[in-house]
Protein backbone atom coordinates (compact mmCIF):
# COMPACT_ATOMS: atom_id res chain seq x y z
CA UNK A 1 0.00 0.00 0.00
CA UNK A 2 1.25 3.46 -0.86
CA UNK A 3 2.48 5.79 1.88
CA UNK A 4 1.24 9.28 2.63
CA UNK A 5 3.51 11.84 0.97
CA UNK A 6 3.72 15.45 2.11
CA UNK A 7 2.86 17.66 -0.83
CA UNK A 8 2.27 21.18 0.47
CA UNK A 9 1.58 23.45 3.40
CA UNK A 10 -2.14 23.94 3.78
CA UNK A 11 -1.56 27.70 3.60
CA UNK A 12 -0.23 27.37 0.05
CA UNK A 13 -3.65 26.48 -1.31
CA UNK A 14 -6.33 29.02 -0.56
CA UNK A 15 -9.93 27.92 -0.38
CA UNK A 16 -11.41 27.65 -3.84
CA UNK A 17 -8.07 27.04 -5.55
CA UNK A 18 -5.92 24.10 -6.58
CA UNK A 19 -2.28 23.10 -6.70
CA UNK A 20 -0.64 20.70 -9.12
CA UNK A 21 1.65 18.34 -7.21
CA UNK A 22 3.82 15.40 -8.13
CA UNK A 23 3.47 12.24 -6.08
CA UNK A 24 5.50 9.16 -6.92
CA UNK A 25 5.84 10.15 -10.56
CA UNK A 26 2.18 11.04 -10.95
CA UNK A 27 0.59 14.43 -11.39
CA UNK A 28 -2.14 15.06 -8.83
CA UNK A 29 -4.38 18.07 -8.49
CA UNK A 30 -4.75 19.08 -4.84
CA UNK A 31 -8.02 20.94 -4.32
CA UNK A 32 -9.09 23.14 -1.44
CA UNK A 33 -12.85 23.52 -1.44
CA UNK A 34 -15.19 24.61 1.37
CA UNK A 35 -12.55 24.06 4.02
CA UNK A 36 -11.53 20.56 2.91
CA UNK A 37 -8.69 19.20 0.82
CA UNK A 38 -9.14 16.66 -1.97
CA UNK A 39 -6.79 15.01 -4.43
CA UNK A 40 -7.59 13.74 -7.92
CA UNK A 41 -5.61 12.49 -10.86
CA UNK A 42 -4.86 15.55 -12.97
CA UNK A 43 -6.68 13.96 -15.88
CA UNK A 44 -10.06 14.57 -17.38
CA UNK A 45 -11.44 11.19 -18.42
CA UNK A 46 -13.00 12.69 -21.53
CA UNK A 47 -9.85 13.49 -23.47
CA UNK A 48 -7.04 13.79 -20.96
CA UNK A 49 -7.22 17.50 -20.22
CA UNK A 50 -5.44 18.89 -17.14
CA UNK A 51 -7.99 19.47 -14.37
CA UNK A 52 -5.49 21.59 -12.47
CA UNK A 53 -6.01 24.32 -15.05
CA UNK A 54 -9.78 24.34 -14.64
CA UNK A 55 -12.07 26.35 -12.38
CA UNK A 56 -13.32 25.10 -9.02
CA UNK A 57 -16.86 25.55 -7.76
CA UNK A 58 -16.27 25.22 -4.02
CA UNK A 59 -19.94 25.41 -3.13
CA UNK A 60 -20.89 22.66 -5.57
CA UNK A 61 -17.76 20.68 -4.82
CA UNK A 62 -16.69 20.32 -8.44
CA UNK A 63 -13.70 21.04 -10.65
CA UNK A 64 -14.10 21.56 -14.39
CA UNK A 65 -11.86 20.56 -17.24
CA UNK A 66 -10.61 23.64 -19.09
CA UNK A 67 -11.00 21.99 -22.50
CA UNK A 68 -14.65 21.04 -22.78
CA UNK A 69 -16.11 21.87 -19.39
CA UNK A 70 -16.67 18.40 -17.99
CA UNK A 71 -17.12 18.61 -14.23
CA UNK A 72 -15.92 16.15 -11.61
CA UNK A 73 -16.96 15.72 -8.00
CA UNK A 74 -13.92 16.61 -5.93
CA UNK A 75 -14.83 14.10 -3.19
CA UNK A 76 -15.48 11.03 -5.30
CA UNK A 77 -13.90 11.86 -8.65
CA UNK A 78 -17.12 10.94 -10.42
CA UNK A 79 -18.07 12.71 -13.61
CA UNK A 80 -20.90 15.12 -12.91
CA UNK A 81 -21.47 16.56 -16.37
CA UNK A 82 -20.85 15.62 -19.98
CA UNK A 83 -18.74 15.14 -21.99
CA UNK A 84 -16.95 13.05 -19.34
CA UNK A 85 -18.79 9.87 -18.41
CA UNK A 86 -16.36 8.03 -16.16
CA UNK A 87 -14.72 8.99 -12.89
CA UNK A 88 -11.20 10.23 -12.51
CA UNK A 89 -9.18 8.58 -9.75
CA UNK A 90 -9.48 10.08 -6.30
CA UNK A 91 -6.69 9.84 -3.72
CA UNK A 92 -6.61 9.92 0.04
CA UNK A 93 -5.72 13.21 1.75
CA UNK A 94 -4.94 14.15 5.32
CA UNK A 95 -3.84 17.38 6.96
CA UNK A 96 -1.54 17.27 9.98
CA UNK A 97 0.14 20.23 11.64
CA UNK A 98 -0.53 22.43 8.66
CA UNK A 99 0.94 19.96 6.15
CA UNK A 100 -1.14 18.28 3.48
CA UNK A 101 -0.39 14.63 2.73
CA UNK A 102 -1.58 12.53 -0.19
CA UNK A 103 -1.67 8.75 -0.46
CA UNK A 104 -2.09 7.35 -3.95
CA UNK A 105 -5.01 5.08 -4.66
CA UNK A 106 -3.30 2.96 -7.30
Amino acid sequence: MAEFVAVADSSEVSDGSSLLVEVEEQLIVLIHAAGHFYALDDVCTHDGGPLSEGPIDAAAGTIACPRHGAKFDVKTGSAVTMPATSATIVHEVKVENGRVYVRLNR
Binding site: A8, L20, V21, E22, E24, L27, G48, R67
Partner: protein, 448 residues
Protein backbone atom coordinates in the same frame (compact mmCIF):
# COMPACT_ATOMS: atom_id res chain seq x y z
CA UNK B 1 -1.70 27.05 -10.59
CA UNK B 2 1.60 26.03 -9.13
CA UNK B 3 3.67 22.93 -9.61
CA UNK B 4 5.74 21.43 -6.85
CA UNK B 5 7.76 18.27 -6.70
CA UNK B 6 6.73 16.21 -3.72
CA UNK B 7 9.01 13.31 -4.48
CA UNK B 8 12.31 15.16 -4.31
CA UNK B 9 15.18 12.77 -4.15
CA UNK B 10 12.86 9.78 -4.60
CA UNK B 11 13.36 10.05 -8.33
CA UNK B 12 15.85 7.40 -9.19
CA UNK B 13 18.52 8.44 -11.62
CA UNK B 14 21.74 6.56 -12.16
CA UNK B 15 23.55 7.88 -15.18
CA UNK B 16 26.36 6.24 -17.06
CA UNK B 17 27.57 9.63 -18.19
CA UNK B 18 30.41 11.82 -17.13
CA UNK B 19 28.90 14.98 -18.48
CA UNK B 20 26.88 17.25 -16.19
CA UNK B 21 23.12 16.64 -16.12
CA UNK B 22 20.83 18.21 -18.67
CA UNK B 23 21.10 19.14 -22.30
CA UNK B 24 22.92 22.41 -21.75
CA UNK B 25 25.36 24.39 -23.88
CA UNK B 26 28.11 23.07 -21.64
CA UNK B 27 27.16 19.44 -22.20
CA UNK B 28 26.69 20.00 -25.92
CA UNK B 29 30.13 21.60 -26.19
CA UNK B 30 31.65 18.72 -24.25
CA UNK B 31 29.88 16.26 -26.53
CA UNK B 32 31.05 18.03 -29.69
CA UNK B 33 34.60 18.08 -28.39
CA UNK B 34 34.57 14.29 -28.46
CA UNK B 35 33.49 14.16 -32.10
CA UNK B 36 35.76 13.95 -35.09
CA UNK B 37 33.39 14.72 -37.92
CA UNK B 38 33.42 16.54 -41.24
CA UNK B 39 32.54 20.23 -41.09
CA UNK B 40 29.25 19.80 -42.99
CA UNK B 41 28.02 17.47 -40.26
CA UNK B 42 29.20 19.78 -37.51
CA UNK B 43 27.23 22.59 -39.18
CA UNK B 44 24.10 20.42 -39.30
CA UNK B 45 24.46 19.64 -35.62
CA UNK B 46 25.04 23.26 -34.63
CA UNK B 47 22.01 24.39 -36.59
CA UNK B 48 19.79 21.74 -35.01
CA UNK B 49 21.16 22.58 -31.56
CA UNK B 50 20.15 26.22 -32.03
CA UNK B 51 16.69 25.06 -32.98
CA UNK B 52 16.52 22.78 -29.94
CA UNK B 53 17.24 25.74 -27.68
CA UNK B 54 14.70 27.94 -29.43
CA UNK B 55 11.86 25.45 -29.23
CA UNK B 56 9.67 25.06 -26.18
CA UNK B 57 8.65 21.66 -24.91
CA UNK B 58 5.43 20.55 -26.61
CA UNK B 59 2.35 21.32 -24.54
CA UNK B 60 -1.13 19.87 -24.21
CA UNK B 61 -2.48 22.92 -26.00
CA UNK B 62 -1.10 21.60 -29.29
CA UNK B 63 -3.40 19.26 -31.19
CA UNK B 64 -0.67 16.68 -31.69
CA UNK B 65 0.12 16.55 -27.97
CA UNK B 66 -3.25 17.11 -26.31
CA UNK B 67 -3.70 13.36 -25.69
CA UNK B 68 -0.12 12.75 -24.64
CA UNK B 69 0.92 14.34 -21.38
CA UNK B 70 4.68 14.77 -21.01
CA UNK B 71 4.66 17.18 -18.10
CA UNK B 72 6.42 14.54 -15.98
CA UNK B 73 9.36 14.37 -18.39
CA UNK B 74 12.29 16.29 -17.00
CA UNK B 75 15.01 16.56 -19.60
CA UNK B 76 17.28 18.00 -16.93
CA UNK B 77 17.53 14.51 -15.42
CA UNK B 78 19.22 13.19 -18.53
CA UNK B 79 22.38 14.03 -20.32
CA UNK B 80 24.60 13.21 -23.25
CA UNK B 81 26.44 10.00 -22.71
CA UNK B 82 30.17 10.18 -23.34
CA UNK B 83 31.15 6.81 -21.93
CA UNK B 84 29.81 3.31 -22.38
CA UNK B 85 28.03 1.96 -19.32
CA UNK B 86 29.45 -1.32 -18.07
CA UNK B 87 26.38 -3.52 -18.16
CA UNK B 88 25.46 -7.04 -19.05
CA UNK B 89 23.78 -6.79 -22.42
CA UNK B 90 20.34 -8.40 -22.49
CA UNK B 91 19.41 -10.80 -25.27
CA UNK B 92 17.28 -9.64 -28.15
CA UNK B 93 14.17 -11.49 -29.28
CA UNK B 94 14.07 -11.12 -33.04
CA UNK B 95 17.18 -12.94 -34.16
CA UNK B 96 16.77 -16.18 -32.25
CA UNK B 97 17.54 -19.06 -34.57
CA UNK B 98 18.14 -16.76 -37.53
CA UNK B 99 21.28 -16.91 -39.65
CA UNK B 100 22.35 -13.30 -39.84
CA UNK B 101 24.38 -11.42 -42.42
CA UNK B 102 25.50 -8.93 -39.81
CA UNK B 103 24.71 -7.56 -36.39
CA UNK B 104 25.30 -4.56 -34.19
CA UNK B 105 24.83 -3.95 -30.49
CA UNK B 106 24.75 -0.54 -28.89
CA UNK B 107 24.52 0.61 -25.29
CA UNK B 108 23.18 4.13 -24.68
CA UNK B 109 23.81 4.75 -28.40
CA UNK B 110 27.47 3.74 -28.21
CA UNK B 111 28.10 0.90 -30.62
CA UNK B 112 29.77 -1.92 -28.71
CA UNK B 113 29.66 -4.75 -31.27
CA UNK B 114 29.52 -4.70 -35.05
CA UNK B 115 29.84 -7.55 -37.53
CA UNK B 116 29.20 -7.95 -41.24
CA UNK B 117 29.74 -11.06 -43.33
CA UNK B 118 32.78 -10.72 -45.57
CA UNK B 119 30.86 -11.70 -48.68
CA UNK B 120 28.48 -8.76 -48.12
CA UNK B 121 31.29 -6.32 -47.44
CA UNK B 122 32.95 -7.50 -50.65
CA UNK B 123 29.80 -6.53 -52.57
CA UNK B 124 29.99 -3.00 -51.21
CA UNK B 125 27.43 -3.35 -48.42
CA UNK B 126 28.06 -1.00 -45.52
CA UNK B 127 26.62 -1.96 -42.16
CA UNK B 128 27.49 -0.88 -38.66
CA UNK B 129 27.82 2.21 -36.53
CA UNK B 130 26.69 5.33 -38.36
CA UNK B 131 29.30 7.23 -36.34
CA UNK B 132 32.13 5.15 -37.67
CA UNK B 133 30.87 4.84 -41.22
CA UNK B 134 30.28 8.57 -41.61
CA UNK B 135 33.91 9.11 -40.67
CA UNK B 136 35.01 6.53 -43.25
CA UNK B 137 32.51 7.20 -46.05
CA UNK B 138 31.47 10.79 -45.44
CA UNK B 139 31.35 11.79 -49.11
CA UNK B 140 29.10 8.88 -50.02
CA UNK B 141 26.74 9.40 -47.09
CA UNK B 142 26.61 13.18 -47.07
CA UNK B 143 23.81 13.57 -49.67
CA UNK B 144 21.60 11.15 -47.78
CA UNK B 145 22.14 12.79 -44.41
CA UNK B 146 21.69 16.25 -45.87
CA UNK B 147 18.31 15.22 -47.29
CA UNK B 148 17.01 15.44 -43.72
CA UNK B 149 14.12 13.06 -44.19
CA UNK B 150 13.36 13.65 -40.54
CA UNK B 151 12.87 17.38 -40.24
CA UNK B 152 15.21 18.71 -37.53
CA UNK B 153 12.93 21.69 -37.13
CA UNK B 154 9.75 19.69 -36.52
CA UNK B 155 9.81 19.69 -32.73
CA UNK B 156 12.14 19.74 -29.76
CA UNK B 157 12.80 16.01 -29.97
CA UNK B 158 13.69 15.94 -33.66
CA UNK B 159 16.00 18.90 -33.06
CA UNK B 160 17.66 17.15 -30.11
CA UNK B 161 18.27 14.00 -32.10
CA UNK B 162 19.56 15.91 -35.12
CA UNK B 163 21.97 17.85 -32.96
CA UNK B 164 23.19 15.10 -30.66
CA UNK B 165 22.74 11.73 -32.35
CA UNK B 166 25.53 9.30 -31.73
CA UNK B 167 26.28 5.67 -32.42
CA UNK B 168 23.37 4.79 -34.59
CA UNK B 169 23.11 2.26 -37.37
CA UNK B 170 23.77 2.46 -41.07
CA UNK B 171 22.82 -0.04 -43.74
CA UNK B 172 23.86 0.83 -47.28
CA UNK B 173 23.19 -1.70 -50.05
CA UNK B 174 24.60 -0.82 -53.47
CA UNK B 175 22.66 -1.00 -56.69
CA UNK B 176 21.42 -4.46 -57.58
CA UNK B 177 22.85 -6.22 -54.51
CA UNK B 178 20.46 -8.60 -52.80
CA UNK B 179 21.20 -9.34 -49.16
CA UNK B 180 19.43 -12.58 -48.35
CA UNK B 181 20.30 -13.02 -44.68
CA UNK B 182 18.66 -10.54 -42.30
CA UNK B 183 20.80 -7.99 -40.49
CA UNK B 184 20.14 -7.31 -36.82
CA UNK B 185 20.54 -4.27 -34.57
CA UNK B 186 20.05 -4.34 -30.79
CA UNK B 187 19.93 -1.06 -28.89
CA UNK B 188 20.20 -1.28 -25.12
CA UNK B 189 19.58 1.35 -22.46
CA UNK B 190 21.37 1.30 -19.12
CA UNK B 191 19.49 2.42 -16.02
CA UNK B 192 19.04 6.18 -16.37
CA UNK B 193 20.77 6.08 -19.73
CA UNK B 194 20.07 8.11 -22.83
CA UNK B 195 19.82 6.75 -26.36
CA UNK B 196 19.97 9.31 -29.16
CA UNK B 197 20.51 6.81 -31.92
CA UNK B 198 19.90 7.50 -35.57
CA UNK B 199 19.21 4.74 -38.06
CA UNK B 200 19.88 5.35 -41.74
CA UNK B 201 19.03 2.69 -44.33
CA UNK B 202 19.82 3.23 -47.99
CA UNK B 203 18.90 0.71 -50.65
CA UNK B 204 20.10 1.77 -54.05
CA UNK B 205 18.25 0.89 -57.23
CA UNK B 206 17.19 -2.75 -57.35
CA UNK B 207 18.78 -3.65 -54.01
CA UNK B 208 17.09 -5.89 -51.44
CA UNK B 209 17.60 -6.34 -47.70
CA UNK B 210 15.92 -7.23 -44.42
CA UNK B 211 16.81 -5.35 -41.25
CA UNK B 212 15.63 -6.42 -37.81
CA UNK B 213 16.01 -3.72 -35.19
CA UNK B 214 15.02 -4.00 -31.56
CA UNK B 215 15.47 -2.24 -28.26
CA UNK B 216 15.84 -3.47 -24.71
CA UNK B 217 16.50 -2.10 -21.25
CA UNK B 218 19.08 -3.51 -18.90
CA UNK B 219 16.40 -4.28 -16.31
CA UNK B 220 12.63 -4.34 -15.96
CA UNK B 221 12.74 -1.38 -13.57
CA UNK B 222 15.45 0.65 -15.24
CA UNK B 223 14.55 4.10 -16.51
CA UNK B 224 15.95 6.15 -19.31
CA UNK B 225 15.29 8.36 -22.30
CA UNK B 226 15.26 7.42 -25.94
CA UNK B 227 15.02 10.19 -28.50
CA UNK B 228 15.73 8.63 -31.85
CA UNK B 229 15.25 8.90 -35.57
CA UNK B 230 14.93 6.44 -38.43
CA UNK B 231 15.38 7.28 -42.10
CA UNK B 232 14.70 4.63 -44.72
CA UNK B 233 15.57 5.37 -48.35
CA UNK B 234 14.28 2.78 -50.81
CA UNK B 235 15.32 3.75 -54.29
CA UNK B 236 13.86 2.71 -57.64
CA UNK B 237 12.91 -0.96 -57.71
CA UNK B 238 14.51 -1.71 -54.33
CA UNK B 239 12.83 -3.87 -51.64
CA UNK B 240 13.28 -3.36 -47.92
CA UNK B 241 11.79 -5.35 -45.10
CA UNK B 242 12.29 -3.42 -41.90
CA UNK B 243 11.19 -4.62 -38.46
CA UNK B 244 11.43 -2.41 -35.41
CA UNK B 245 10.56 -3.91 -32.03
CA UNK B 246 10.35 -1.35 -29.23
CA UNK B 247 10.81 -3.28 -26.01
CA UNK B 248 12.12 -0.72 -23.53
CA UNK B 249 11.25 -1.13 -19.85
CA UNK B 250 8.11 0.53 -18.54
CA UNK B 251 10.14 3.37 -17.06
CA UNK B 252 11.62 4.63 -20.32
CA UNK B 253 10.51 7.75 -22.17
CA UNK B 254 10.47 7.01 -25.89
CA UNK B 255 10.35 9.66 -28.58
CA UNK B 256 11.01 8.94 -32.21
CA UNK B 257 10.68 10.42 -35.65
CA UNK B 258 10.68 7.83 -38.41
CA UNK B 259 10.52 8.39 -42.15
CA UNK B 260 10.56 6.07 -45.13
CA UNK B 261 10.98 7.27 -48.74
CA UNK B 262 10.07 4.79 -51.46
CA UNK B 263 11.07 5.51 -55.04
CA UNK B 264 9.47 4.32 -58.28
CA UNK B 265 8.66 0.63 -58.21
CA UNK B 266 10.21 0.26 -54.76
CA UNK B 267 8.66 -1.81 -51.99
CA UNK B 268 8.84 -1.20 -48.27
CA UNK B 269 7.41 -3.57 -45.70
CA UNK B 270 7.69 -1.87 -42.33
CA UNK B 271 6.63 -3.70 -39.19
CA UNK B 272 6.51 -2.10 -35.78
CA UNK B 273 6.15 -3.92 -32.50
CA UNK B 274 5.48 -1.63 -29.56
CA UNK B 275 5.54 -3.37 -26.21
CA UNK B 276 7.60 -1.25 -23.90
CA UNK B 277 8.19 2.24 -22.57
CA UNK B 278 6.39 4.32 -20.00
CA UNK B 279 5.33 6.83 -22.62
CA UNK B 280 5.96 6.66 -26.34
CA UNK B 281 5.38 9.38 -28.87
CA UNK B 282 6.30 8.21 -32.34
CA UNK B 283 5.79 9.92 -35.67
CA UNK B 284 6.01 7.30 -38.39
CA UNK B 285 5.81 8.63 -41.93
CA UNK B 286 6.02 6.97 -45.31
CA UNK B 287 6.38 8.91 -48.56
CA UNK B 288 5.81 7.26 -51.92
CA UNK B 289 7.83 9.45 -54.20
CA UNK B 290 7.92 7.53 -57.49
CA UNK B 291 5.19 5.83 -59.50
CA UNK B 292 4.23 2.25 -58.64
CA UNK B 293 5.89 2.43 -55.24
CA UNK B 294 4.39 0.30 -52.46
CA UNK B 295 4.45 0.50 -48.70
CA UNK B 296 2.97 -1.97 -46.26
CA UNK B 297 2.99 -0.80 -42.64
CA UNK B 298 2.20 -3.25 -39.85
CA UNK B 299 1.84 -2.30 -36.22
CA UNK B 300 1.47 -4.56 -33.19
CA UNK B 301 0.99 -2.89 -29.82
CA UNK B 302 0.41 -4.41 -26.42
CA UNK B 303 0.14 -2.14 -23.40
CA UNK B 304 -0.27 -2.74 -19.68
CA UNK B 305 0.04 -0.97 -16.34
CA UNK B 306 -0.05 2.76 -16.96
CA UNK B 307 1.76 2.71 -20.28
CA UNK B 308 0.85 5.38 -22.80
CA UNK B 309 1.78 4.77 -26.43
CA UNK B 310 1.02 7.39 -29.04
CA UNK B 311 1.71 6.67 -32.71
CA UNK B 312 1.07 9.24 -35.41
CA UNK B 313 1.27 7.68 -38.84
CA UNK B 314 1.36 9.43 -42.18
CA UNK B 315 1.10 7.88 -45.63
CA UNK B 316 2.08 10.48 -48.19
CA UNK B 317 1.33 9.71 -51.83
CA UNK B 318 3.37 12.03 -54.00
CA UNK B 319 3.35 10.06 -57.27
CA UNK B 320 0.73 8.17 -59.31
CA UNK B 321 -0.06 4.44 -59.23
CA UNK B 322 1.28 3.89 -55.71
CA UNK B 323 -0.13 1.67 -52.98
CA UNK B 324 0.04 1.99 -49.23
CA UNK B 325 -1.57 -0.35 -46.74
CA UNK B 326 -1.39 0.29 -43.00
CA UNK B 327 -2.70 -2.06 -40.31
CA UNK B 328 -2.17 -1.29 -36.65
CA UNK B 329 -3.53 -3.61 -33.98
CA UNK B 330 -3.45 -2.89 -30.25
CA UNK B 331 -4.44 -4.85 -27.16
CA UNK B 332 -4.68 -2.92 -23.92
CA UNK B 333 -4.65 -4.06 -20.29
CA UNK B 334 -4.96 -2.36 -16.92
CA UNK B 335 -4.95 1.47 -17.05
CA UNK B 336 -2.90 1.67 -20.22
CA UNK B 337 -3.70 3.90 -23.13
CA UNK B 338 -2.93 4.07 -26.82
CA UNK B 339 -3.40 6.94 -29.20
CA UNK B 340 -3.25 6.29 -32.91
CA UNK B 341 -3.67 9.14 -35.31
CA UNK B 342 -3.36 8.20 -38.96
CA UNK B 343 -3.35 10.34 -42.06
CA UNK B 344 -3.38 9.47 -45.73
CA UNK B 345 -2.22 12.46 -47.74
CA UNK B 346 -2.59 12.31 -51.52
CA UNK B 347 -1.00 15.02 -53.61
CA UNK B 348 -2.63 16.29 -56.76
CA UNK B 349 -0.04 14.46 -58.84
CA UNK B 350 -0.76 11.13 -57.21
CA UNK B 351 -3.63 9.94 -59.41
CA UNK B 352 -4.64 6.28 -59.25
CA UNK B 353 -3.50 6.02 -55.67
CA UNK B 354 -4.65 2.99 -53.69
CA UNK B 355 -4.33 3.66 -49.96
CA UNK B 356 -5.73 1.99 -46.86
CA UNK B 357 -5.36 2.43 -43.15
CA UNK B 358 -6.92 0.51 -40.32
CA UNK B 359 -6.58 0.43 -36.55
CA UNK B 360 -8.16 -2.29 -34.38
CA UNK B 361 -8.14 -2.16 -30.60
CA UNK B 362 -8.89 -5.01 -28.19
CA UNK B 363 -9.78 -3.69 -24.77
CA UNK B 364 -8.75 -6.22 -22.10
CA UNK B 365 -9.79 -4.01 -19.17
CA UNK B 366 -12.55 -1.46 -18.69
CA UNK B 367 -9.97 0.99 -17.38
CA UNK B 368 -7.84 0.94 -20.53
CA UNK B 369 -8.40 3.47 -23.24
CA UNK B 370 -7.68 3.64 -26.97
CA UNK B 371 -8.02 6.77 -29.06
CA UNK B 372 -8.17 6.06 -32.77
CA UNK B 373 -8.21 8.98 -35.17
CA UNK B 374 -7.95 8.12 -38.86
CA UNK B 375 -7.80 10.89 -41.44
CA UNK B 376 -7.73 11.52 -45.18
CA UNK B 377 -6.44 14.54 -47.05
CA UNK B 378 -6.88 14.03 -50.77
CA UNK B 379 -6.09 16.49 -53.52
CA UNK B 380 -6.22 14.07 -56.47
CA UNK B 381 -9.58 13.10 -58.00
CA UNK B 382 -8.96 9.55 -59.20
CA UNK B 383 -8.00 7.58 -56.13
CA UNK B 384 -9.14 4.78 -53.85
CA UNK B 385 -8.54 5.72 -50.23
CA UNK B 386 -10.26 3.96 -47.34
CA UNK B 387 -9.84 3.76 -43.63
CA UNK B 388 -11.37 2.05 -40.66
CA UNK B 389 -11.12 1.61 -36.94
CA UNK B 390 -12.63 -0.83 -34.46
CA UNK B 391 -12.54 -1.11 -30.68
CA UNK B 392 -14.08 -3.90 -28.66
CA UNK B 393 -13.79 -6.31 -25.75
CA UNK B 394 -13.11 -10.02 -25.63
CA UNK B 395 -16.32 -11.79 -26.49
CA UNK B 396 -17.70 -13.57 -23.40
CA UNK B 397 -19.24 -16.29 -25.57
CA UNK B 398 -15.88 -17.05 -27.16
CA UNK B 399 -14.35 -17.27 -23.69
CA UNK B 400 -17.13 -19.55 -22.48
CA UNK B 401 -16.84 -21.80 -25.53
CA UNK B 402 -13.07 -22.14 -25.17
CA UNK B 403 -13.45 -22.97 -21.47
CA UNK B 404 -16.03 -25.65 -22.25
CA UNK B 405 -13.38 -27.24 -24.45
CA UNK B 406 -11.01 -27.56 -21.51
CA UNK B 407 -9.01 -24.36 -21.64
CA UNK B 408 -8.47 -22.34 -18.48
CA UNK B 409 -9.74 -18.80 -18.57
CA UNK B 410 -6.23 -17.40 -19.01
CA UNK B 411 -5.43 -19.85 -21.79
CA UNK B 412 -8.65 -18.87 -23.50
CA UNK B 413 -7.89 -15.17 -23.22
CA UNK B 414 -4.38 -15.73 -24.53
CA UNK B 415 -5.73 -17.68 -27.48
CA UNK B 416 -8.26 -14.98 -28.32
CA UNK B 417 -5.62 -12.25 -28.08
CA UNK B 418 -3.31 -14.23 -30.34
CA UNK B 419 -6.16 -14.67 -32.78
CA UNK B 420 -6.80 -10.95 -32.70
CA UNK B 421 -3.23 -10.29 -33.80
CA UNK B 422 -3.17 -13.13 -36.34
CA UNK B 423 -4.27 -10.87 -39.17
CA UNK B 424 -1.20 -8.73 -38.77
CA UNK B 425 1.07 -11.72 -37.99
CA UNK B 426 -0.01 -13.22 -41.31
CA UNK B 427 1.41 -10.18 -43.07
CA UNK B 428 4.79 -10.54 -41.40
CA UNK B 429 6.83 -12.79 -43.64
CA UNK B 430 9.71 -13.36 -41.21
CA UNK B 431 9.03 -16.35 -38.99
CA UNK B 432 11.32 -15.33 -36.13
CA UNK B 433 9.54 -11.98 -35.89
CA UNK B 434 6.11 -13.60 -35.81
CA UNK B 435 7.23 -15.99 -33.10
CA UNK B 436 8.95 -13.31 -31.01
CA UNK B 437 5.95 -10.99 -31.08
CA UNK B 438 3.51 -13.81 -30.37
CA UNK B 439 5.58 -15.10 -27.47
CA UNK B 440 6.15 -11.65 -25.97
CA UNK B 441 2.46 -10.80 -26.12
CA UNK B 442 1.41 -14.19 -24.76
CA UNK B 443 3.59 -13.67 -21.70
CA UNK B 444 1.98 -10.32 -21.01
CA UNK B 445 -1.65 -11.37 -21.18
CA UNK B 446 -3.24 -11.48 -17.75
CA UNK B 447 -6.42 -13.17 -16.67
CA UNK B 448 -9.48 -11.06 -17.32
Amino acid sequence: MNHVNATGSDIRFMSSTLAPAGFTQETFDAFMATREEPSWLVDLRQSAWSRFNELAMPSGREEEWMRTDIRMLKLSQYSLSTEVAAIETPQGLLAEGVELGGRTVSVDSHTTESELADRLADQGVLFGSLDTLVAEHGDKLRPYIERKLVDPLYDKFSALNSACWSGGNLLFVPQGVQVEEPLHCLSVLSDGGVDLGKTLVILEQGAEATLLAETASVGAESGGLHCGSIELIVERGARLRYVNLQNWSHRVWHFAHQMGHVGAGGKLQWTIGALGSRLAKVNQRVALTGSDAEAQVNGVMFTQGKQHLCYNTHQHHQAPYCQSDLLYKSALQDHSRTVWRGMIKVDNAAQRTNAYQRNDNLMLAPTARADSIPGLEIEADDVRCTHGSTSGRVDDEQLFYAMTRGYTRQEAVRMIVTGFFQQVFDRITIESVREALGEAIGQRVQQL
